[in-house]
Each structure stands twice: as structure tokens, then as C-alpha cells.
């Protein structure tokens, strides 16, 4: 006696076989419930991956800061004063602001770039090595800007893949060749590809990175910094670090402490959290809808088991006449419901995972796709299975109690 007794299985097979259409339709409810749950959860993950892929490996604990006109008169200055960050600000920030992980001052321009007979207009950035940790690119050949480049104001350039394609012939190796930027020759020391997807990548791969110090000199920017990019220590919020930085900068530049319009800034962490929050909400919605669908399937099973129990009243009466206890009968019916639920649910799970697999393979190398590599966590699949078993038990309970509520003699008379 027990679950592993072959008689138990024979009875289940008989019950399911005795009305194939009904079994199928019932099972389909559960099948569909779990199928939808799996596909929706997987797509949710795919959507999330798709969006985050477009962001590349952008540091989520980062912020940007730039100067704007002042909006308040202070310390003898009128409002509406234009001002700039200076190199000395970077030093002051590094030594005074706690919780700063990386600081990348940047300058930017747009210039015509020439190599032999080819030329093009590209965006040029002056960067510190730290920048490649804040919004990283993939160096496919050569290297990125290093500290020596900065210290010695070397005339070297790291160019994007599309820049290389535009300026060089296919058989040419751009590395160590000299390109003319704004009338000055720079040696190409690295070629990079974007980590992002779609249009973002197209734009990024048309960039050229020069050492910050070199660019300031070559373009006659003096000691002006266009903007700061920064990341905070993982344990500290970027907002806090950015606030400290702004307080310091205002003091250094004689700006009213309450003048919030003098410094523009963008907190990536905050935006990132908004997106994450959205995905969490989508996830919760998926679970609610999925479990609702599953529940509808379970009610279907319960309903069908009620009919089955009614049709089998005589048989259950015979069983009780020859010694089956109510517990035996309840166990049997719940067991049947659980098996039916699990079989159907397993089918739905497999079909759902199958569909996700197809989508996964289809988007494996996709550069620009809303869904990117959708899949389902093993833990979630396991949770779905556990939910199925519980659903099966619940689906079986009502019919089982209906079955034993009637006295054996009434059951025997039911023919």
C-alpha cells in the first residue's frame, strides 16, 4: 500500500483514460497556467536583459556633474555668472570628498580626423584611465589610455571600431599609425568596440579618446574641465558623495550654498533604481497573473474530480464495504488530482522552457532586440512545481471530502 503500489497508478491511468477528452481539457487548464507563468517570467527576464544590455557595463553607482550659470548673487558676484571647473578642483575633490571610488574629469570636442586620403568628423574626448571603469568599452586591439599618457601628455589616440573602418583600408592595421586630429598627429594605440547594443553602440564606436592632459593642451582648453564623472564606493550612495562634491565646488568657486542651478548633475544610480523598480513591479504582476491562471486550472481539476467522484460513488462504496477507510479514499483522490496536475504542469513547464530556449537561441547574438536571452531561473521552475503540487492537493481536497461524506450504504445503493 502506498504511492509506489502499482495498483494506485493503474487506477489513475484508468480514471484518466475513461474520459480522454475531459481529462485533456482539464489538464490543459493547468498546462496553460504554468506555460504562461514560465513564458511570462522568462520574457520578463529577457526584457530586463535587453534593456540593461543597451546600457552596456555602465557603472550604476555613478553620477555626472557640469557647470551652469549661477542663479543667485553671492560674495560680490551677480547672478547669471558663467564659470568652469578647473584641474585644481579634481585635486581638491580627491583629497576632501569621502566615499569617492573613481573620478574622471573630461573634456570634449568634435574634429575632422585625417589619415592618408581618408577623413571624417568624429567626437573627441579627453579622458583619464578611470573613465574606462565608469562607462567601459571593449578594447579589441592595443590598449586604453594609461597613467603615463596622462603624465607625459603623450599624443596617442584610442579609436572606435567605426572610426578605424572609415579611416583605414581593410587590410591596414591602424595600430601605431599616425592620424591627424585638429592638425596634430596622434599615434593610434588602441581600437575598441562598444559593450552596448543598437544605436548606442553605433554612436560610441565613432568616438576617439585622447589622454585628458594632451587634449587640454592641444585644444588650448587651459585648465578647464568640462565635466566630472564619478563613482562612489559600493557601500556609499552616489547621491551623498555628489552632494559633498557640490558643496566643496560651490565653496571653491564662491557660489551661494543654496544655488542649486549653478551645478547640473545626473545620478545614474537613481535612474537605474527607477528601472529596477519597474521590473520588480512587472515581475510581481507576472506572478499575480500567472498564479491566477494556474488557480483557474486548479479549479478546473477540482471540478472534474468532483464529477469523477460522483461517477465513481458505487466503486468508492464497494471499496469502503471491503475495508477502505475514509483516509484511504481521501488519499486516493488527492493523489489522483496531484498526479493529473503535475503531469499537466510538467507539460506546461517543458513547453514554456522550450519556447524560452528557442527565443534564447534566436537572440543569442542579437545586437538590437527588445528581448535578450530570455530564460527562467531553476529556482523559479522549482517554485512553480511546488505550487503545482500544492494546487493539486487543494484541487483534490473538496472532491475527496465529498466522496467520504456520503455513507457507504448510500454509495452502494447509488447504482
Amino acid at each position: 500500500m502506498g504511492i509506489f503500489d502499482i495498483d494506485n497508478w493503474k487506477e489513475i491511468v484508468y480514471t484518466l483514460k475513461s474520459n480522454k477528452m475531459r481529462t485533456f481539457l482539464t489538464a490543459f487548464g493547468v498546462f496553460w497556467g504554468i506555460f504562461m507563468l514560465v513564458v511570462m517570467l522568462g520574457s520578463g527576464i529577457g526584457l530586463q536583459r535587453g534593456i540593461f544590455k543597451n546600457m552596456g557595463d555602465f557603472a550604476t553607482n555613478s553620477a555626472f556633474m557640469w557647470t551652469q550659470s549661477t542663479s543667485m548673487a553671492y560674495s560680490g558676484f551677480n547672478k547669471g555668472r558663467r564659470w568652469n571647473f578647473r584641474n585644481s578642483d579634481a585635486e581638491a575633490i580627491r583629497s576632501n570628498v569621502n566615499g569617492l571610488e573613481r573620478l574622471a574629469p573630461r573634456v570634449q570636442s568634435s574634429s575632422t580626423v585625417v589619415y592618408n586620403k581618408h577623413q571624417g568628423v568624429f567626437t573627441i574626448y579627453g579622458d583619464y584611465p578611470d573613465w574606462n571603469y565608469i562607462d567601459p568599452v571593449d578594447i579589441v586591439e592595443g590598449r586604453y589610455i594609461n597613467d603615463m599618457d596622462i603624465a607625459h601628455k603623450r599624443k596617442v589616440a584610442v579609436i572606435g571600431r567605426l572610426v578605424a573602418e572609415k579611416l583605414f583600408e581593410k587590410e591596414e592595421n591602424p595600430l601605431n599609425q599616425f592620424i591627424r586630429i585638429n592638425g596634430v598627429y596622434f599615434r593610434v594605440v588602441g581600437i575598441f568596440e562598444s559593450k552596448k547594443g543598437g544605436e548606442q553602440a553605433q554612436i560610441e564606436e565613432q568616438n576617439i579618446h585622447l589622454p585628458f592632459t594632451t587634449m587640454q593642451m592641444v585644444y588650448n582648453f587651459g585648465d578647464i574641465v568640462f565635466w566630472f564623472a564619478l563613482t562612489a564606493d559600493p557601500k556609499i550612495s552616489v547621491a551623498k558623495v555628489a552632494d559633498d562634491m557640490m558643496t566643496l565646488l560651490k565653496r571653491r568657486h564662491k557660489i551661494h550654498p543654496d544655488d542649486n542651478r549653478a551645478i547640473g548633475h545626473f545620478n545614474v544610480e537613481k535612474e537605474f533604481k527607477k528601472v529596477s523598480g519597474l521590473f520588480n513591479a512587472i515581475d510581481i504582476l507576472i506572478w499575480i497573473v500567472g498564479i491566477g491562471t494556474l488557480l483557474a486550472g486548479a479549479i478546473g481539476i477540482s471540478n472534474i474530480m468532483l464529477i469523477v467522484v460522483k461517477e465513481r460513488t458505487l466503486e468508492l462504496g464497494i471499496r469502503r464495504a471491503i475495508g477502505a477507510t475514509p483516509e484511504n479514499i481521501i488519499t486516493q483522490i488527492i493523489f489522483e488530482a496531484v498526479v493529473l496536475t503535475i503531469l499537466a504542469g510538467w507539460g506546461g513547464l517543458s513547453a514554456g522552457v522550450g519556447i524560452l530556449n528557442i527565443l534564447y537561441n534566436a537572440t543569442l547574438h542579437a545586437k538590437n532586440s527588445v528581448l535578450y536571452q530570455p530564460m527562467i531561473d531553476f529556482k523559479i521552475a522549482l517554485a512553480a512545481l511546488i505550487i503545482l503540487v500544492i494546487t493539486g492537493v487543494i484541487a483534490g481536497l473538496l472532491p475527496a471530502y465529498r466522496a467520504v461524506k456520503i455513507k457507504p450504504i448510500e454509495a452502494l445503493r447509488s447504482e
Binding site: P326, I409, L412
Partner: protein
């Protein structure tokens, strides 16, 4: 030994009640072969069902092997049914999707006997019934007499003290009825009490004691061989 005293039983019939048993007292000794007779509606099946713990009673006392049967839980009743009684029904009540052997083995399943062992025991009983080669046939492939013999084997397989048979020959022709009665007689010879409910005179004549019911009361209780009245109520 079964003993009931002053048993009352009524069924609700809409607003009124059908008083099926009106104070029935009866003692059945171990090893008896008796029949309960009466026309339909006399309460004879109700009496059998109460004896077999398939139905409850409203009033009175029931001693089963000196155990007082009162307010049994369904689980407890199932245990006693399985231990003391074997049931034989007019319509056989075999389970249609189980073959002859599995039907006979079913009560042992509920006793927790392993599959191998209970099937072996079931085959033994099939052998005794002369149905060994029908072991793997479904009830629908058996004749009425064969079905009833399978049902009797199922009733015997737990080695009960009492066999309760409700119109066991009701659905059989006279030749097969005789065979089934012979079988029950043989069962009785092994010391098992057999109680048959019937409305057929010649069937009851084959038993050793006849209890006659009318309108829920015992009107006659006679020993067949001696042909004299034991007691009258």
C-alpha cells in the same frame, strides 16, 4: 457472535419518516447458516446493512463479538468491516477495471498486505473457486455465476467471521443459484457464519435457520432441519 437488541431504524422520506426497523432483536451464533426472509420493504436489507456496519441505527444495542458497537467513526467501522465481515451483493459489485485476481486482492490491499503476497492469496482463492484460468479477465468478461464466485472469493479473502450476502442469487438463473448456494454451504462448513438475505423460498430452505421479517419486525424465527419454531416475537 452477533447480538442485537431492540434495534430501531428510520429513514427520512421528505417530511415524514420511514420506520424500517421497529425494535428488532436477534442473536446469531458462530457458525450459523441462516437466511433473512421478507418481501421488499420488510427491512431485511436494512437489518443486514446494520449487522455489517454499513449503516447506522437510531436506537438499541449491538454486540459484535461482545464489543459494544456505538457511535463508531467511519475509520473504526471500516476496520471492523475489514476484520469481521465479507460482503456478497446481488449485483456482484466487482470493480469493473480490475481483473478477477485484483478484485479478490483488494481487501488485502486495505489491510496493507504487499502486492505480491495478496495476489498470491487471491490466486489461491480463485483456484478454490475453480476460476484459476480466469484470473486476468475483467468482470465484464465473466458470466454471472463466475462473477458471484469472484465476489465470494473477495468476501472470503480476509478470512472473516461472518459472510453477509444480500440476495446473492437474485441476478442468477436457478442452476447457477444452486451452485452459488452450494459454495456458501461449503464456506459455512469451514466454520464461517453465513447470513443470506433473500425473498426466494427455495434459497432460504437450503439454510439452517430462517428469520422472517414483515414491516420492520421479526415475525418468525425457525430452524429449517428441525422444522419447529424456536421463538416468536
Amino acid at each position: 457472535m452477533l447480538r442485537i437488541e431492540n434495534i430501531h431504524k428510520s429513514y427520512p422520506m421528505g417530511k415524514s419518516k420511514l420506520h424500517a426497523l421497529k425494535g428488532v432483536s436477534l442473536t446469531v451464533n458462530d457458525g450459523e447458516f441462516m437466511s433473512i426472509m421478507g418481501s421488499s420493504g420488510s427491512g431485511k436489507s436494512t437489518l443486514l446493512n446494520i449487522l455489517g456496519l454499513l449503516d447506522s441505527f437510531d436506537q438499541g444495542l449491538y454486540y459484535l463479538d461482545n464489543l459494544v458497537i456505538q457511535n463508531l467513526t467511519e475509520t473504526r467501522a471500516a476496520f471492523y468491516r475489514n476484520k469481521y465481515f465479507g460482503f456478497v451483493f446481488q449485483s456482484f459489485n466487482l470493480i469493473s477495471f480490475k481483473n478477477a485476481m485484483e478484485n479478490i486482492a483488494l481487501p488485502l490491499y486495505y489491510q496493507g498486505v504487499s502486492r505480491k503476497k495478496r495476489n498470491a492469496i487471491a490466486l489461491e482463492y480463485l483456484e478454490r473457486m475453480g476460476l484459476r484460468e480466469w484470473a486476468n479477465h475483467l468482470p465484464s468478461e465473466l458470466s454471472g455465476g463466475q462473477k458471484q464466485r469472484v465476489a465470494i472469493a473477495r468476501a472470503l479473502v480476509t478470512q472473516p467471521k461472518v459472510i453477509l450476502a444480500d440476495e446473492p442469487t437474485g441476478a442468477l438463473d436457478s442452476q447457477t443459484s444452486l451452485e452459488v448456494m452450494e459454495l456458501l454451504k461449503e464456506v459455512n462448513r469451514e466454520g464461517i457464519t453465513v447470513i443470506i438475505v433473500t425473498h426466494e423460498h427455495d434459497i432460504s430452505q437450503m439454510t439452517n435457520r430462517i428469520v422472517r421479517l414483515r414491516d420492520g419486525m421479526i415475525i418468525e424465527d425457525i430452524a429449517v432441519e428441525k422444522k419447529d419454531t424456536i421463538c416468536l416475537t
